[in-house]
Symmetry: C2
Subunit: 221 residues, 2 copies
């Protein structure tokens, strides 16, 4: 690699990785209203804002009061992260996980296409049924498919093992907002009180969801 | 897998994957102003809106007039996609690529940490220098790091081989907007006219960037 050289600088920009993080988080804290969030939630909100570039995201976040301690304790106890999409799994920073936790996405499991076909649902939803052996005490991270979140809620209503926490932030125009409303009212509607984090409306996505998991994984920014 | 069953439905939602796509794209076209975009660009814009859940994204998109034909021709000729982050690479739908194109992310190349340290820059930027043998005629997809985009522009100013197209949509608070402004004015500032697609401001990210590549890969929605 000895022939490689850094090209001459033509632009004035911050090129230190740690400085970019520090400056980014300081900018976000300056511009974002974080009061009123439960304990531990501000650092999670900051990292989600960081992943999206949008300070107004905070207005749409809904934190269950126990979300941060429940998810962090689960990860510290070695619980796996169950992701609905490979992009979500890819965004989880392995070095931040406290117990070298498994990050599991079963979307490419060979059983998925036929289950989806037989059940008349999406592959994302069918893959969630394959989580069942891992579900008890896990941290769920749904950042793509509203159908995956609806399917998980229906499994829980049907008596499936309960995860320790659900980060449910699917994105989009068809069912996304409704699936997240259903998550937020799962305790009121069905008496199932699982700590959750969601974002109201159409916004969401794998980056935001992975950012939340990365913040939950460690208290340190 | 014979014991698995779909849990009983408790919510009313669209659970057909193809129907979700059709309904999503129709909703976006109904709510989004797509006139004035160059030929071929509306389907790219629709897919980027789909990946973010935000119709107002369109106002901030900047399409070089040749972006769509240049990127599509390159991919149809077998050009690789060069991604700055594994999340971007993970979001590229391989089945949409016309020539089973390589999707390359070199962030975990063993040379990267020492290059970043020696050069005093980020690993994302250092990894871009390793693209050089693949750069000529490639489709670049930068969705995470402003420093990667600045570094690429500095390589081009320094005489590096030119890619066929640059999708440059890094996200964030420190340098993101500035790096994208620099991309948009590369021809005016430095006489280097490479077809590009970017989004003004802080928004961006791996999902948006992968969505753009997925749209560029095929004309069909």
């Amino acid at each position: 690699m000895s022939v490689l050289k850094r090209p001459p600088r033509h632009y004035d920009y911050v090129d230190s990785g740690p400085a970019i993080y520090v400056d980014s988080f300081a900018t976000i804290r300056r511009e974002t209203a974080l009061d009123g969030l439960p304990e531990g939630a501000p650092t999670v909100a900051v990292r989600m804002v960081h992943g999206t570039g949008q300070t107004d995201l905070v207005h749409d976040l809904v934190f269950h009061p126990d979300l941060v301690p429940a998810a962090r304790a689960a990860l510290e106890a070695g619980a796996p992260v169950l992701a609905d999409a490979h992009m979500v799994a890819s965004g989880v920073t392995r070095a931040r996980l406290p117990k070298d936790n498994d990050v599991i996405c079963l979307l490419r499991d060979p059983a998925v296409p036929s289950l989806a076909r037989d059940w008349g649902t999406t592959r994302s939803a069918a893959a969630v049924s394959l989580w069942e052996p891992h579900l008890e005490g896990a941290v769920v991270a749904i950042g793509n498919a509203p159908t995956a979140l609806f399917h998980l809620l229906e499994m829980l209503i049907d008596g499936a093992p309960r995860p320790a926490a659900i980060v449910g932030c699917p994105v989009g125009f068809i069912g996304a907002a409704e699936s997240k409303d259903a998550l937020a009212s799962l305790a009121a509607d069905h008496g199932i009180d699982v700590p959750f984090l969601t974002v109201r409306g159409r916004r969401g996505g794998s980056a935001m969801t992975a950012s939340a998991v990365n913040a939950l994984a460690q208290e340190a920014e």
